[in-house]
């Protein structure tokens, strides 16, 4: 390790360290504009010039000594850029000399000659590196006459979300490099030259990237501003509250910037294990639903056929009395549907209400999609080890990304897997029924036939066993039922599997070798495999078998990561909002009814007398029949709420405290930032109030019911959300010790929450200058990890063959679009242009056969539905499959893997 001396402070740093990073270690600040720790250095701004010397060596290669016996230093004739110079042993750096100070003053003065100096109207003012460094190193006065200033275009829309001010731009190329190196969407570039050098977008539509908002944060001046936040407040007037993004299952850490009880902006908060310092545009811009004018503000109760405002007491009493009445006849006539967008506290109390007070297991969070619990169970047992960092997998890790499209569903995970693959050399194997954006980072990209997912996995397993690459020690000591499994696998030769799943056998063998021979092996499996209609159980068991025969579990970078669709899908499973799964991923003895069973079919009588629907909208998927008594708890008057007898207004994630558990099983804390809208209450409070009212009348309940005898109203007294979490931390083993205090560790704010302050007092930047690599949140340990002697059973599950071509010859693959037609997205005007019109993607071969041209209007029929949309003909979808993004206009609740017929209109 080379030792360097910086301003007389000695420090040892790893090979390849840049001077600017070495200086941070000894507390010497070297000012920079173009350098960013996450980006490749370019040495453009020249702000970081320092004096650099190396030890003088004589002809014999020995270091010469000066008069004092210290090594003599050969100073380089020119100042060197600290951001591009790599340290070498014995290097001496001076940053505190007059020459360096002059250089810094010169660079700041140069930058300001062309800068419009319109700080008072600039959104960056107050957290601007150019302001801060001008104050610290710049000259006090300008020698450049204002009338000679170079003028360039201001207010240039660089896409729907970003506004560019070309006058303020200092040509540091951070935005260009972010797009090229981090996001890998090459949509920005420079044009022209000299003083006219300017940022242009190279894509159509302009700035076509899902990560464009991050360029606002890393821009060291006010050149790139958010078209959402733009000119609506000064940054020091905005109070930051630590929160967690409530959109997808990545759980990006964010700061909600609040002013006047509204969200002004959202910026990422650093969490090295989750989102580094980035977030996607959906997380950043789609927040207007929190203060949408059509939010529910009071409880509504149906009177004379109409929903009318009521008091909380009135509504809650009605719910309690009706539940009590129905429960008296049959507790199992009450069902509960809770969306997996609700927080852990809500979901925990929701199931507690049903299981302990009502006495019904008719609970589910899987509304609009149907899947068994097998995959969830695999995560409990084989979940990836604590310490797995998807953004820092190195060449010793092979990761199989199976049936997932993180670009659309978990954008930041795509960003992080790209970093793992490109920066650290992780070996990605991407397998899906189509080519996704992630495939370009994969060492191996495999496209299987939709419906044959399980065959592909069995092929991998068989290839490993055929070549005797399995981990025999592990199998002998920890795995049961191996022989029976191997016997069942007998008919499934690699060739046979390959033929069915349409992947070449040598490719399967090659992937199998890489998996078995890699020191670490991680599986990320996504929605498209999870919801594979006929084969979800077989897929989950095959994935488990793949981990078991290779022994890749129980350690960091090994095991299973399920990429769920929603922000708290993991929490919903953890807290047993399932008919067959209890709290803490236990099994319940008496299985209740699933969402599908509860909702029934349109021509059936509803099987439930009462339904309690929280944070989901089953009626939007069609075929919904209102039960006798329907309670809906939501932010908006959803289609289900319109039918309800009682509607209870809930608070959004921005108005309350809570926790979400992300797709990597990391529980993360979010804090209230806004005051409640109207009389809306947190979900956990509403559930507890209903429970209290129910419990208080239960003394008369006959014994033998599900209710435990010691249930008293006092046990439902929760003053705050943290009290609920305290109970969880004390009683649920997976969440042991995960109190708010523990989850709040390392949660940092960029500036003190003192509200309005003098902007000059505290120079701030948004988590961009100093990266601390902090992580917050807690991951619960899987069985494989917490129990070193646990035995695992290989379970065989016979795969069912892909449906054969019939009158409906094509397989339907359901994709998702990041910006969909959902309620939350629809409230944000600024992203509407990015919501695609509904379309179906067809392979060019099939399209030719069916005589369908690109852009043609087609009719797609499946199950008992027919939808009309535009066709897109391109090469991402394999033959015999069609792809339709879910939840756009008219494409809700599509069945993954169904057979479809397509014809021209």
């Amino acid at each position: 390790m080379p030792q360097v001396t910086i301003d007389n402070k000695k420090v040892e740093v790893p090979n390849g360290t840049l001077i600017v990073e070495a200086a941070k270690k000894v507390g010497v600040e070297i000012p920079v504009f173009c350098y960013h720790p996450k980006l490749q250095p370019v040495g453009m701004c020249r702000m970081c010039l320092v004096e650099v010397g190396t030890p003088k060596r004589g002809k014999d290669g020995q270091i010469e000594l000066d008069a004092n016996g210290a090594p003599a230093i050969a100073w380089m004739p020119k100042l060197q850029t600290a951001c591009t110079t790599v340290v070498s042993d014995g290097m001496t750096v001076r940053t505190d000399t007059a020459q360096v100070a002059d250089a810094r003053r010169a660079i700041v003065e140069f930058l300001l000659t062309s800068h419009p100096l319109d700080c008072p109207i600039c959104d960056k003012g107050g957290e601007c590196p150019l302001q801060n460094l001008t104050m610290a190193y710049g000259p006090g006065q300008s020698r450049f006459p204002v009338e000679s200033k170079f003028h360039n275009a201001k207010r240039v829309p660089l896409g729907d979300l970003i506004m560019l001010d070309r006058e303020r731009c200092i040509q540091c190329s951070r935005c260009v490099r972010f797009q090229d190196e981090i996001a890998d969407d090459h949509v920005l570039g420079f044009a022209a030259r000299g003083r006219g050098l300017e940022i242009v977008t190279l894509s159509d539509p302009p700035f076509d990237s899902k990560f464009s908002g991050n360029t606002i944060d890393i821009c060291p001046v006010g050149a790139l501003t958010s078209r959402d936040f733009r000119l609506s407040a000064r940054v020091w007037e905005v109070r930051d509250y630590p929160s967690v993004c409530a959109h997808c299952s990545v759980g990006c850490n964010i700061l909600i910037g609040e002013r006047d009880h509204a969200i002004k902006r959202i910026v990422p908060r650093e969490n090295a294990s989750v989102n580094e310092i980035w977030t996607c545009d959906k997380g950043r811009f789609v927040h207007h639903f929190t203060v949408a004018p059509d939010r529910l503000t009071t409880p509504l109760v149906r009177k004379n056929g109409n929903l009318e405002p009521a008091t909380w007491n009135e509504a809650l009493d009605l719910v309690a009395s009706r539940f009590k009445e129905i429960k008296w006849h049959d507790p199992n006539a009450i069902g509960g549907l809770a969306g997996d967008r609700a927080s852990n506290e809500d979901l925990y109390l929701f199931q507690k209400l049903f299981r302990q007070v009502i006495g019904s297991n008719n609970l589910d969070h899987r509304v609009g999609w149907s899947v068994t619990n097998t995959g969830a169970d695999s995560v409990r047992v084989y979940g990836a080890g604590v310490g797995t960092n998807l953004g820092a997998l190195d060449q010793n890790v092979t990761a199989l990304v199976f049936g997932a499209d993180p670009e659309e569903e978990q954008p930041v995970i795509r960003l992080r897997l790209k970093r793992s693959a490109r920066t650290f050399g992780a070996n990605l194997i991407v397998a899906n029924g189509r080519v996704t954006k992630l495939a370009k980072y994969a060492k191996q990209s495999l496209v299987y036939q939709y419906g044959a997912e399980a065959y592909f996995l069995l092929g991998l397993i068989r290839a490993i066993l055929d070549e005797r690459l399995e981990n025999r020690d592990f199998i002998a000591t920890r795995v049961q039922n191996f022989d029976a499994f191997a016997t069942s696998l007998e008919p499934y030769t690699v060739e046979r599997c390959a033929e069915i799943c349409h992947v070449k056998p040598e490719k399967i063998r090659d992937a199998a070798r890489q998996i078995a021979q890699s020191p670490n092996f991680l599986i990320l499996y996504g929605r498209e495999a999870m919801f594979a209609q006929q084969n979800d159980v077989a897929v989950a068991r095959a994935l488990a078998a793949l981990l078991l025969i290779t022994g890749h579990l129980g350690r960091a970078n090994n095991g299973l990561v399920a990429l769920y669709p929603h922000n708290n899908s993991t929490g919903a499973i953890d807290f047993g909002v399932l008919p067959d799964g209890g709290v803490g991923r236990t099994r319940v003895e008496r299985r209740g009814l699933s969402a599908r069973e509860m909702l029934g079919r349109s021509n059936e009588r509803p099987s439930m007398r009462a339904l309690y629907v929280m944070a989901c909208d089953p009626a939007a998927d069609g075929n919904f029949v209102k039960p006798e008594f329907l309670v809906v708890q939501d932010l908006f008057l959803t289609e289900t709420a319109r039918l309800a007898d009682v509607v209870l207004p809930a608070q959004s994630f921005a108005e309350r405290d809570g926790t979400f558990t992300n797709t990597e099983r990391r529980a993360q804390l979010f804090r209230a930032a806004l005051k409640p809208i109207g009389e809306a209450k947190p979900d956990w409070w509403i559930i507890a109030e209903i429970a209290k009212r129910l419990v208080s009348g239960l003394q008369f309940q006959v014994s033998g019911s599900q209710v435990s005898g010691n249930l008293k109203p006092e046990t439902w007294n929760y003053a705050t959300a943290s009290a609920v979490m305290d109970e969880i931390a004390a009683t649920v083993s997976l969440y042991k010790g995960m109190t708010y205090a523990a989850l709040a560790e390392n949660v940092k704010l960029p500036r003190p929450r003192s509200g309005q302050g003098n902007p000059s007092e505290q120079p701030t930047e948004i988590a961009m200058g100093e990266l601390e690599n902090i992580s917050s949140g807690k991951v619960w340990a899987s069985v494989a990890e917490s129990d070193a002697r646990a035995k695992f059973e290989l379970v065989w599950s016979e795969p069912s063959r892909p449906l054969t071509a019939d009158s409906r010859p094509l397989t339907l693959a359901v994709a998702r679009s990041l910006y969909d037609g959902g309620t939350l997205v629809s409230k944000t005007q600024i992203v509407q242009a990015r919501v695609p019109a509904p379309f179906v993607e067809i392979n060019s071969q099939d399209a030719e056969q069916l005589g369908i041209a690109d852009g043609a209007r087609v009719r797609v029929s499946f199950d008992m539905r027919v939808i009309e949309l535009d066709a897109r003909v391109d090469g991402h979808v394999p033959p015999d499959a069609v792809l339709i993004p879910n939840n756009l206009d008219g494409t809700a609740a599509l069945p993954m893997g169904a057979r479809v017929k397509i014809e021209k209109v």
């Binding site: 008072p120 109207i121 207010r155 000119l231 902007p759």
Partner: protein, 173 residues
Amino acid sequence: MAFPDLGAILKGMSVTLREMLTPPVTIEYPKVKKPVAARFRGRHELKRHDNGLEKCIGCSLCAAACPTDAIYVEPAEQTDAARYSPGERYAKRYEINLLRCIYCGFCEEACPTGAIVLEHQYELSYYDRRSAIITKEGLLVQPPAPELNTPRALRDPGNLYSAIPPIKGGVEE
């Protein structure tokens, strides 16, 4: 010794006599109003450029400088179709709570465009606390001519360079 301190009495009476002959310092307020010093700090006004555009650009620096948090500014973006001030930004809402204000003049000093000035109006009394909060309408001075009021459409398609530093007259028309 009958009048040992006659001198003292005379001295005292001379003051009385002198004061009897000088004009009174009191004035008959409110019939008569005393002119205030040029730099007197009274109630605030928001000034306009000669072309009627508001000098205030909604930068909130006055609010940041205010030691009593008496100023509230809500800025917004403007277009040439409805222009309030030069540049991209204007004050959509501007309120001063005169009960909080201590008339220190820091807001004047902080203002980059000379928009806010503590003028000579000192007759500040209210029947209720709410009316002590003066809004932008109350603070803004009259335009030089009725047709030069804001917002108005401007022919110049967005001369955005002149917001800071202010060029005389703001946006050229």
